[in-house]
């Protein structure tokens, strides 16, 4: 018997029991649909975390001071109180590191930004011009400050969108205006592009950027710096770059090899991996739950095929009497099982994709239907059909025609 005949026979047999076929298929439909939807939710959240983290600059390396000595009683001093990072550290990294393109020292403080009668509590961050490249941050208006501004500690600043919204109303152009931050006047020379919230829910646009020298000397009156931001030449070399930075800083700080680092280096790539591994775990869990329902669907097929074989014993006997070989009977029942699972699988894929869209539209969760999840669940489905259909089909093919014919 050729494939066409087999499919025709199987299709007819399934149509003879429409409700039963539909219910059996439902198990597979729900299983496959669940897998597709769940994987798309998992993948979607992974993708969105990735995007958010990349928005902070995917090559970014952050260096913070940290305590390597314990004071009496074993307590360590928090990083904000440490004074171990200096501008010369940043310069050393810029000069010596091969895998680093840009370096910016950073200091930051909180205060009140005032424009005429409006004021807004925000933070002022002192950085070098390279900072915008490191953060992959663009200006929508004006110009950025230069290294000369840094050298002369000039009182110029760039404003984030949130700050502008709060102290410049009525669509007033902030460029060229002078605002005050903690009573010190700053001239606005540029406007930062909107960056939105970061992964931790902080508003990245609620910020004022100024030359770090200005913030150090005129506002905070300190000589050290709080952070160093650097950019690796690309995402892959983040690790190498971070090792390089560690070596340079250890040499600069004259640390003995027995001493711990008095700073910490964290790459964005590391953070991305940590966050996506969390959501990978989520994907695996969701998929596992969905896979169980697919398994249940498969057992449903097996159950129905068993019932069908028993119910059609006489038919099997007749077919054998008029010349069907064992393999013909086996293929006939196997085809039925596969037809149920594949048809169910196709419907399931369609419903799963639709459900993923609905989740995005109504729950506003990001979803991403990947090609691999569709192909995988479809293949699993076909395999399920063969796996759960084979045993009942084999049982049918091994019936004794004499007994099968006499079966009532």
């Amino acid at each position: 018997m050729n494939v066409f005949n087999l499919l025709h026979l199987a299709w007819k047999a399934l149509l003879r029991n429409k409700i039963r076929t539909a219910l059996t298929m439902l198990g597979i439909i729900i299983g496959v649909g669940a897998v597709i939807t769940m994987v798309s939710i998992g993948e979607g959240s992974k993708q969105s975390i990735r995007n958010q983290l990349s928005s902070m600059g995917s090559n970014m390396i952050t260096i913070r001071p940290s305590s390597n000595v314990t004071v009496g009683g074993g307590a360590r001093i928090g990083s904000s109180g440490l004074r171990t990072l200096l501008v010369k550290d940043a310069i050393a990294i810029q000069d010596q590191a091969i895998f680093i393109t840009n370096v910016s020292p950073a200091v930051s403080t909180n205060g009140q930004a005032i424009n005429a009668s409006l004021n807004w509590p925000t933070s002022l961050q002192g950085v070098s011009p390279a900072y915008l490249d490191i953060r992959e941050w663009k200006l929508v208006a004006g110009i950025t400050f230069t290294n000369d501004d840094v050298a002369s500690a000039s009182k110029v600043c760039l404003l984030g969108q949130t700050v502008i919204n709060n102290i410049f109303t009525n669509g007033e152009d902030p460029i060229g205006k002078t605002i005050r931050f903690n009573k010190i006047p700053f001239k606005v020379i540029g406007v930062l592009d909107k960056k939105g919230e970061n992964t931790f829910g902080q508003d990245q646009d609620d910020i004022i950027l100024a030359p770090y020298t200005t913030v150090q000397k005129r506002i905070m009156a300190i000589t050290w710096i709080q952070n160093i931001y650097a950019a690796a030449i690309d995402e892959k070399s983040s690790d190498t770059a971070s090792k390089e930075v560690i070596e340079i800083l250890r040499t600069n700080h004259k640390l003995k090899y027995t001493e711990d680092n008095d700073f910490t280096v964290r790459t964005q790539a590391e953070l991305i991996n940590t966050m996506s591994s969390t959501s990978s775990l989520l994907t695996v869990l969701l998929t596992a739950i969905a896979a169980i329902s697919l398994l249940v669907g498969g057992i449903g097929i097996m159950n129905i095929m068993y019932v069908s074989v028993t119910e059609r014993t006489k038919e099997i006997g007749l077919r054998m009497a008029i010349g069907a070989r064992g393999i013909d009977i086996l293929l006939q029942f196997l085809t039925e099982a596969i037809l149920i699972s594949i048809t169910g699988g196709l419907i399931g894929v369609a419903l799963g994709i639709a459900a993923a869209k609905l989740v995005t539209v109504f729950l506003l969760w990001p979803t991403l239907v990947t090609q691999s999840s569709v192909i995988l669940s479809f293949v699993v489905c076909a395999v399920t059909g063969v796996f759960f259909g084979y045993y009942p089909a084999q049982k049918a093919s091994r019936l004794d025609p004499i007994e099968a014919l006499r079966y009532e």
Binding site: A321, I322, A324, R325
Partner: protein, 256 residues
């Protein structure tokens, strides 16, 4: 000399039931020539059913020889037996064994599905010819539950004919039918035998069916006790015509 369709020599069949051995056939020998219409008679326990299963290649003898159209059945595998049944034997059962919710035409096509020599294109045509031969050209697309018992048995006979087997093997084929319909079926079989030269082996326990065949082989306790040519074959058609017509015997209402 006519071509031997069945050649059975000292056929034995034993069944093991626990520790006991039941000897259903204890050495049966007979031959059937092409074109014969043979009834195999016997009461229950005579080995009739065992004989039928072996003749139909559904079962194999423990000892002895069975040649079907020159093929030694004993040496064949399960699959080869299936092929032999498909090509050489046309079964007609007591309970028709038509597939439910499947049209008469598709039921008749069934044996052709398992015959690789018949291309898909010819299947339908062959099935239609077979249905015409049993007088059901008008009912091809009816489902079994829309046909009377006699009509259903005709479909079964068409199914038996469709692969042009060397032998039609009928198992109590009139057992479920009333007298009049039985005669109709017998008339059809006689016609197929006489006009188309089909070899027919008819297994039954009813003596009044045997009178329509040209030869009767009687089994008892696993042996042939009588094997005689029927010199005076009764015509089922004439018998049918001679039946008194009663109102109740009016042809069954057709449900279309």
């Amino acid at each position: 000399m006519a071509n031997k369709i069945l050649d059975i020599n000292d056929l034995k069949r034993e069944f093991k039931m626990g520790s006991e051995t039941v000897r259903a056939l204890k050495g049966v020998s007979f031959t059937v020539d092409a074109g014969e219409f043979v009834t195999i008679m016997g009461s229950s326990g005579s080995g009739k059913t065992t004989m039928l299963n072996i003749l139909g290649c559904l079962d194999q003898p423990t000892e002895g020889k069975y040649l079907l159209d020159g093929v030694d059945v004993k040496t064949l595998s399960r699959n080869e037996l299936a092929k032999l049944r498909n090509r050489k034997i046309g079964f007609v059962f007591q309970s028709y064994n038509l597939l439910a919710r499947t049209s008469a035409l598709e039921n008749v096509e069934l044996p052709l599905l398992y015959n690789a020599d018949v291309p898909t294109k010819e299947r339908k045509e062959k099935a239609m010819h077979a249905l015409e031969a049993v007088g059901l050209a008008e009912r091809m697309n009816h489902l079994p539950n829309q046909l009377s018992g006699g009509q259903q048995q005709r479909v079964a006979i068409a199914r038996a004919l469709v692969n042009e087997p060397v032998m039609i093997l009928a198992d109590e084929a009139t057992g479920n039918l009333d007298t009049k319909t039985s005669y109709e079926i017998m008339a059809l079989l006689q016609e197929l035998n006489k006009e188309k030269g089909k070899t027919i082996v008819f297994v039954t326990h009813e003596p009044d069916i045997a009178v329509f065949s040209s030869r009767t082989v009687t089994l008892k306790d696993g042996r042939v006790i009588k094997d005689y040519k029927n010199e005076n074959v009764k015509s089922a058609k004439d018998t049918l015509a001679a039946l008194p017509v009663e109102k109740d015997d009016e042809p069954k209402k057709e449900t279309a």
